[in-house]
């Protein structure tokens, strides 16, 4: 028998003599429950500030299912994060339109303006959940390059609009001048 086996046997026999089974169970249960409660502590929530988003942007992420979320400052549509997708990915069964409406939003976590691409997801009927219509910096239809009432699914295979994403392209050198 190897030395490790003997050592384990010794430890097990020793703990069996000293510790009752109920005591072990109660401690193990305590560790399980305590571990589950850790994220509720303020320490754990403070650590979230440093988390990195799916597209690599640091900062407090907030809730992408809410219209107030910082990336949604110029969005007009249903939030894909409420429709089976996320703020950077389309729901299953839809296709991300290659052409898109682009604007800038300020990230309150670092005070930097980011270029946001509001790619529409196309191919299924409109999602109907989490309508968000903030339109900051939008211009009327005759300024087509700054209008988001256009059906941007025009560039996709099917033109049925389902929902909108808000993907960070990169940090902007200045805020969109129309703001």
């Amino acid at each position: 028998m190897s030395r490790i086996d003997r050592w384990f046997e010794g430890m097990s026999r020793q703990s069996a003599r000293r510790v009752s089974r109920r005591s072990w169970l109660s401690r193990f249960g305590g560790v399980l429950m305590g571990g589950a409660a850790l994220p509720l502590l303020p320490v754990a929530r403070a650590a979230e500030k440093h988390q990195v988003g799916e597209d690599g942007v640091k900062g407090r992420e907030g809730d992408p299912r809410r219209c107030e979320y910082w990336r949604h400052c110029a969005i007009d549509g249903f939030l894909c994060s409420c429709c089976g997708g996320s703020h950077t990915a389309c729901p299953p069964g839809t296709e991300m339109s290659p052409v898109t409406w682009i604007g800038t939003c300020r990230n309150p976590a670092d005070g930097i303006d980011y270029i946001i691409s509001y790619n529409d997801c196309c191919g299924k009927t409109f999602c109907g959940r989490c309508m968000c219509n903030r339109n900051e910096g939008e211009r009327p239809l005759y300024h087509w390059y700054r209008n988001n009432d256009i059906n941007w699914c025009g560039g996709a295979k099917t033109q049925t609009y389902s929902c909108s994403t808000a993907v960070v392209v990169k940090a902007a050198k200045e805020a969109q001048p129309e703001k």
């Binding site: 682009i102 270029i115 560039g155």
Partner: protein, 129 residues
Amino acid sequence: MKGPLLTMGLLLLTLPARADAYEEHDYILNCSGCHRMDGTGSKNVPSLLAMAELLGKPGARAYWVQVPGAAQAPLSDARLAALMNWLVERFAGSKPDPAYTAEEVNRLRSAPLRDPVARRSKIREAIVR
């Protein structure tokens, strides 16, 4: 001792120029939504890579600034000139010579095209002077 100092001085001179370079930013915000990041466009939007077909042909230089997307972009003449110099080199494969200036861009964008598609095919067939 003079060498490193000179290098540092040169670096300091070039840094502000790089920090003020808005070409890529302006491309992403004003062009890439339709022409896409790689310039390939989509079924409704022309590919910028097709600019190479017009390279060196009479009228192409003016046409590129007069197309609605460029002429109507919410950019100053100076920023549009810088963007066009960057964009032509990147997508047509050769720097515009001479480089576009703010004055030239101002003159060109104040004379809009009535039919950009027809103008393009004329330039391509080298009918326009």
